[in-house]
Subunit: 490 residues, 2 copies
């Protein structure tokens, strides 16, 4: 039976960029997903769950910003020579599903999806290769009301997961308005238009002067490298800058500024009209500008989307990794896109939708202290006499029947200290003790471990006397006494 | 802007062996996972979520029955030359996690996990390459109470998801008892012992005479091919057959039969003692033999596990694909295994656990008619006047604030028939109608679509008069009236 060892022991570790989630972390996320999905559901969206694996062909061009094939995804070739990959978002599978089932789905098709997505990117602090998204999209509706309602839904989601009004704002912009601005500038060259779009996408990072430089001759970036500009004259760049900074005191003023910026451009006016319609719907739904606002400085994804663009920003401040105060920032974003299904069917299908970065939102709710960092463990029935496991089993069964989380200690019971150490590691609220003496007298000891640890830290002698951390109760009173202690009544 | 088409349109379909899940299917599964996890949690288990991707090295030898490397899993090579794969079960990741974090985890470590697993196997009817598992394991406890409580937990799970007492039984067996039988037979050759183990694993399929043939000279299988036997004489095979058929009228008789079968074998007696201890704990926990029973005919996995083996069988009959009545069969199984962590650390760590086949259990609950096949859609606010989207938006907002699932129709509103068709496809319970006439009179029409469709099918004229499917109510009464209609009060 002697075995020759052929290879060294395997390493017990996750692949690079992946991690494990324990206990409370998992339950907090699952609670949040439940809350988000209940809001999505209330808005009339139906859930869809696609598999993790898609054909490369169906996934298409992969990540929005990456052109090289297979770049950014986890892909492999199947035996039968098909290439498949893990989904990198929930939108590409939606496009595939809509194209595949469009004759049997209602139009508009309103679906939500939640689950992990995978990106084959360089991991970093807090950046993992598997993370959760939670999306809602309306496919097949040109109606701008579909966009407006997603913004309202997003506001409801944030409030229901625990972000208070005033701590967030949903900002809305519109790609068509920018297109109108480029039109009246006479910027018809697509290469140059794309260069402008890519440039204003950096507005968040480099601010107004930075964008102005980059639209013109260029600028030195933080690393000292010179970044070439688009090459517009200062006068030519003016309309773009006017667009980006057109937010006024109220929505009426913002819309007026935008109308001025797009002049006679038909597409530009149509974009402003869409924003105006959405603003009217926000008002009808009783959402104020402290929840949803028109803000042309929101540019993330403006190059990707075709109409309204929206982003949920958390406005409270946190300390960044260098200890500087900054706004928490974006936790969700989306917009209107019209060409996603077209690759499959040849027909353009209007669609609009949002994606919530669940892990970032969890971090945000954690920052606001609305998630308790620890969770309460089970009641531990200790083992004083290993021959009486049946007695202890009867206790946990009674407790569980009363819906109390409980377990009997299943490690080696020899050392009682180890049992209490285990209860401590599990953050157990209560330990039950029944030795032979207790058994003979028909009683059990109920040890309040939370109170016990408080007393150990800080209690006065009087507090200790009034609130003993351990009580002896009749065996028949076990469940009632544990219940009372858990409820803080004893 | 003309584009040259380089490739044909991609096919909109899932990879072979994968599928999509819509609406009610997803919610039923997620409800079931919630119920199972609440029972696991009540038993003191903590949730763990590992990533879908593991290193090949950590996953180890892959599927229990497959020896060839990479066989049965979806694996690919990363750029940095590491091979990784999608997890094929939830036990291998648990072993990796325990080995990786053992110094920071409580002992015993009691965890549950749920989620998809992937198998690169030939798909078939109802067999997919991605499916859900829901596991609970206790790692680091040699105590046989850990096995007993998983059986009791399994009984609780089945009852809580809607399988009634009498429709299931948890059957318990023990590998050590069989080892004892082989010992007293004098069967010491490991190759022959393994052959016996593989043979009795077919007990489910070929029955008692089939196993007897296969332990002896062999037999013709259903396809007409001759299967070689292990080569035992009929007398030699007797103890194995005695073991398999040793179930008595009650647990006492079964244990007595097993004690006789293992004779003086120490390991065999230890196995019978373990079964006896477990039976005592079931009794202490007030679980009767109609819920959990000792049954030596349960052999699935007996070759894999090292101690107790347990399986949850549903005993009610269904019609199989050929229209024959048969028992629904197994929905969960597990047992004790001691060598899983050893590959990482060199130390044997006792562990026991169960895996529930969630999709099979869902099918079973569906068979018992405890899941409603359809789900109720949202209240649909129809669009009679596209210029008054704000009015309709105000209605859905009011309904949603009252926690009523509702949406305004977002397709092209021109054809009212299409709006009602959409409501029908969504299984909407109610449609709201407010044309200009209603607007001017301050009323809305509330159309009971469920009642309407019943009336269309079967109502008498009297029923129709008593219960008109459409009511006109004041606009201010919208929410109250919808609520009442949903509650069946109007």
């Amino acid at each position: 039976m002697a075995k020759v060892k052929k290879s060294p022991r395997p390493k017990a570790q996750t692949p690079k960029g992946f991690r494990d989630y324990f206990g409370a972390e998992v339950r907090e996320r699952s609670d949040m997903l439940k809350t988000i999905s209940s809001v999505y559901h209330r808005y009339g969206f139906d859930v869809l769950e696609t598999s993790a694996v898609e054909t490369i062909e169906a996934l298409g061009k992969f990540l929005p910003d990456v052109d090289r094939p297979n770049e950014g995804v986890f892909a492999w070739q199947e035996d039968d020579s098909d290439w498949v990959a893990l989904r990198y978002d929930l939108t590409a599978p939606l496009a595939r599903v809509y194209a595949q089932y469009r004759n049997n789905l209602p139009t508009p098709y309103r679906r939500y999806s939640m689950g992990p997505v995978w990106r084959n990117e360089k991991p970093g602090p807090g950046r993992y290769r598997q993370f959760y998204q939670c999306d809602a999209d309306t496919v097949g509706a040109a109606n701008i009301g579909a966009d407006a309602e997603i913004c309202m839904m997003l506001a409801d989601v944030l409030e229901e997961v625990g972000i208070q009004r005033g701590d967030f704002v949903i900002k809305v912009n519109n790609r068509k308005v920018l297109n109108g601005v480029l039109d009246i500038m006479g910027l018809t060259d697509q290469v140059q238009r794309d260069a402008v779009l890519r440039t204003i996408d950096k507005f968040d990072k480099v601010g107004e002067p930075g964008v102005r430089d980059l639209l013109g001759k260029g600028r030195l970036d933080a690393s000292g490298a010179y970044i070439d500009g688009v090459g517009l004259s200062s006068a030519q760049a003016d309309p773009v800058m006017a667009f980006l900074t057109s937010k006024g005191q109220d929505i009426e003023e913002t819309l007026a500024n935008l109308r001025a910026a797009v002049g006679a451009s038909t597409v530009g006016q149509s974009g402003v009209n869409e924003l105006e319609t959405m603003a009217g719907l926000f008002q009808s739904g009783r959402y104020g500008v402290q929840q949803i606002d028109i803000d042309p400085s929101v540019v993330r994804g403006l190059g990707y989307y075709t109409g309204p663009v929206y982003e949920a920003e958390l406005t409270f401040e946190i300390l960044d990794e260098k200890g500087r105060r900054r706004q928490f920032g974006s936790v969700a974003g989306g917009g209107r896109y019209d060409d996603l299904v077209k690759r499959f069917t040849g027909q353009a299908v209007p669609a609009t939708g949002v994606s919530i970065g669940v892990d970032r939102l969890l971090a945000a709710v954690g920052q606001k202290g609305r998630i308790s960092p620890t969770s309460v463990g089970p009641v531990i029935v200790t083992v004083m006499d290993r021959d009486r496991m049946g007695d202890y089993q009867a206790m946990v069964s009674e407790l569980r029947t009363a819906r109390i989380r409980a377990e009997v200690y299943l490690g080696n019971p020899k050392n009682f200290g180890n049992q209490l150490k285990y209860a401590d590691m599990r953050n157990a609220p209560i330990a039950i003790i029944e030795g032979q003496r207790e058994k003979d007298s028909g009683v059990v000891q109920i040890k309040n471990l939370i109170l016990g640890s408080k007393i150990a830290q800080s209690a006065t002698l009087e507090e200790w006397k009034e609130n003993p951390a351990q009580r002896e109760v009749p065996r028949t009173e076990l469940v009632r006494s544990v219940q009372a202690m858990l409820n803080g009544q004893a």
